[in-house]
């Protein structure tokens, strides 16, 4: 009799509560092999702890508290409408086509169809995914939408809005988007919510040759929320992904982009602004950009403003495959710390297997410049107003990377409102 004495270090904690929640809902969710596979993954690997490299700064321990299935029905829709409509009206977005998801369930009543974007419902994930958040989504999702734009169509603007109603519920939206050759779309994704909840979305994006997607996400989750989003764009030749995430909500939040540049001369922009100020708040921007073809380009500017005891995380990996010659990869990560107890963790990572590439990254972390503050105050600008001007100036260049004017306007107003709440 032989014993296998090998011990694999367990970096995961028990996913028992989450799996039990699934078992209780299995009937309602509908049997699907992908859900069972995801359940198996979680049973085996558990939930990553902070000993795992990918979650060193972002603690998933609270996940297990969010197991309620979420609201549905007319009453939930009415409550969601009361959160949604004032926001849209204030931002001048009431007339834009939209998909609205309430507690992880697509709401036909609150959505407004688009003439150019075909929208169908998705019920399950098509794969369990490698990773706890992906598997959790695949196991528990109540579906989402599949958006598509036909070849050559400039589909204009569309909103994807997630509204969460709290009550420690969990939402696991599962969306996909595909742009056919030469198609274009400007998608503004907005997360709103109340109270405490978990948002854990997965968004798969397929960009055919010469297509162009502007994807602006405003993560404005409630203070007590956990908010995770995984965005996976796959780009064919000459396709463009113009991503921007403004993150300011949640107690623990991560926006994770895993981009694959599979076609020649594809371009991905993965830009972000993170604004944190609450005690213990963690805002995490994680990206993994894989250059897999000749002459591809990725540009990334991430700016983080932190006050109080908030923490910011940037971990950005650029991978350049052997065949991806002439790759151009650029990462700039800057953080402004407004208090002594704020903290920024930055982990840029380059993994390069081709020899003819241009990749660079820069990191700066600092406080407001005393000399600039004094100069402004000596002209009569009160200290708080001077700080506000400098913070806005710090964010100005990253916001200006959003070329879509209307979306940029929304971003600027949300940033101003955030600052005004201080």
């Amino acid at each position: 009799m032989s014993h296998d004495r090998r011990i694999t270090p367990r970096l995961g904690s028990d996913a028992g509560a989450l799996i039990a929640a699934f078992d209780a809902q299995r009937e309602a969710l509908g049997a699907a092999p992908v859900r069972e596979a995801a359940r198996g993954f979680l049973a085996e690997h558990g939930i990553p702890t902070r000993r795992s490299e990918a979650f060193r700064y972002t603690d998933l321990a609270a996940l297990a508290r969010f197991i309620a299935p979420g609201a549905q029905g007319a009453q939930a829709e009415a409550r969601a409408g009361a959160i949604l409509h004032p926001f849209l009206a204030a931002q001048g977005l009431a007339d834009v086509a939209r998909v609205v998801v309430v507690d992880g369930l697509v709401s036909a009543g609150l959505s407004v169809p688009s003439a150019e974007v075909a929208t169908t419902l998705v019920e399950d994930a098509d794969e369990p995914g490698e990773g706890a958040l992906l598997a959790l989504n695949a196991m528990l999702t109540r579906g989402g939408v599949s958006l598509s734009v036909e070849a050559g169509v400039a589909a204009g603007r569309m909103l994807l809005v997630h509204v969460a109603l709290g009550g420690a519920a969990a939402a696991h939206p599962r969306h996909s988007l595909s742009l056919a050759e030469g198609a274009s779309l400007e998608l503004l994704e907005i997360d709103l919510g109340e109270d405490a909840y978990l948002h854990n979305s997965v968004f798969d994006i397929t960009l055919a040759e010469d297509s162009a997607l502007t994807h602006v996400r405003i993560q404005n989750a409630a203070d007590e929320a956990l908010s995770f989003a995984t965005v996976r764009p796959v780009l064919q030749a000459r396709a463009r992904y113009e991503g921007f995430c403004l993150a300011l909500g949640g107690t623990t939040a991560r926006h994770e982009v895993r981009a694959r540049l599979e076609g020649e001369a594809a371009i991905a922009h993965v830009n972000a602004a993170q604004l944190g100020r609450r005690d213990g708040q963690v805002l995490d921007l994680t990206s993994e950009i894989a250059h897999l073809a000749f002459d591809t380009r990725s540009l990334q500017t991430v700016k983080t403003v932190l006050d109080g005891r908030a923490r910011g995380v940037f971990s950005g990996r650029i991978h350049v495959a052997r065949e991806a010659q002439k790759t151009d990869g650029y990462q700039l990560n800057q953080a402004l710390l407004l208090s002594d107890s704020a903290e920024m963790d930055a982990r840029p990572e380059l993994e390069i297997y081709a020899d003819d590439v241009k990749c660079s990254h820069g990191v700066t972390i600092g406080a407001l410049d005393e000399e600039q503050l004094f100069y402004m105050r000596s002209r009569g600008v009160p200290a708080a107003e001077a700080e506000a001007l400098l913070v806005r100036a710090f964010l100005a260049d990253v916001l200006s990377l959003v070329e879509a004017e209307a979306s940029r306007g929304v971003l600027e107003r949300v940033v101003d409102a955030w600052w005004a709440q201080a």
Binding site: S378, R379, L389
Partner: protein
């Protein structure tokens, strides 16, 4: 009538290093005083301390502005009360639009004084006119504050700020350095034109040329953190001819 600025026995240090070692200076309303002195004698330090810069620690003496204890006031309160410092090295503010900044400053001061704010259109008109008088290129208002400005353009921008903020005590720290001959004349004549019973200036300079146009009421010479000699406009001419060493030896 009380003096606009009264400085007595003022001492200031950076860390443990004393820089101002007891300054006595009185500026009556309506007068223009020049401050001269070798490099490193403490002229800029004096101007910063009067404007309220925090990294200098005042270790003794007093400074009153009208009836108010200047050293107790925040920098923005000093500005609203009418003090303006034109920096020897104006600070760049990347991402902050020059016209917006100026309007923000002007309106903050007006608010602090209980006056109505000026709207963007009216302000732009004022700023353009003032810019024209200083022969500033039009686009300087549209650019970020001092970013990419030439040395002389930065100095002109300081003067533009002064023209719009209309201080009652202007401290000009080497505003003439780096200006071309024409700009120097424009600036000097601009300051001279402000001469009025409710306007005073402390003009720090190394050069006689500015003072020939301004004709200061008094000239003070600083050395090693003290004022070692004061006189009328003649004193500046004497310094131009003979340098500081004789004065410094005499005072020692």
């Amino acid at each position: 009538m009380s003096h606009i600025l009264t400085v007595s026995g003022l001492k200031a240090a950076i860390g443990d290093t004393p820089i101002l070692r007891g300054i006595d200076l009185v500026v009556p309303p309506g007068e223009i005083h020049a401050v001269m002195g070798p490099n490193g004698s403490g002229k800029s330090t004096l101007s910063y301390v009067l404007a309220g810069r925090a990294d200098y620690e005042v270790t003794g003496g007093s400074a009153t502005y009208g009836e108010a204890d200047l050293l107790e006031m925040e920098p923005e309160a000093r500005a609203a009360a009418g003090i303006f410092l034109a920096f020897q090295a104006p600070v760049e503010l990347p991402g902050v639009n020059n016209a917006n900044f100026l309007r923000t400053a002007l309106n903050a001061q007006r608010r602090a004084r209980g006056q109505d704010e000026i709207d963007a259109v009216a302000f732009l008109k004022l700023a353009r006119e003032a810019g024209k008088r200083l022969s500033m290129p039009d686009d300087m208002l549209k650019r970020a504050v001092n970013v990419g400005f030439s040395g002389g353009e930065k100095k002109r921008n300081e003067v533009l700020q002064m023209a719009l903020l209309k201080p009652s005590l202007a401290i000009l720290d080497e505003t003439d350095s780096g200006l071309d001959v024409d700009a120097l004349r424009i600036v000097a004549e601009g300051v001279r034109a402000l001469r009025a019973p409710d306007f005073s200036a402390l003009v720090i300079t190394h050069h006689q040329r500015l003072l020939e146009i301004l004709v200061p009421d008094r000239v003070h010479v600083m050395s090693k953190g003290r004022i070692i000699r004061s006189g009328d406009a003649q004193l500046a001419r004497e310094i131009e001819r003979e340098g500081y060493s004789a004065l410094i030896q005499e005072a020692a």
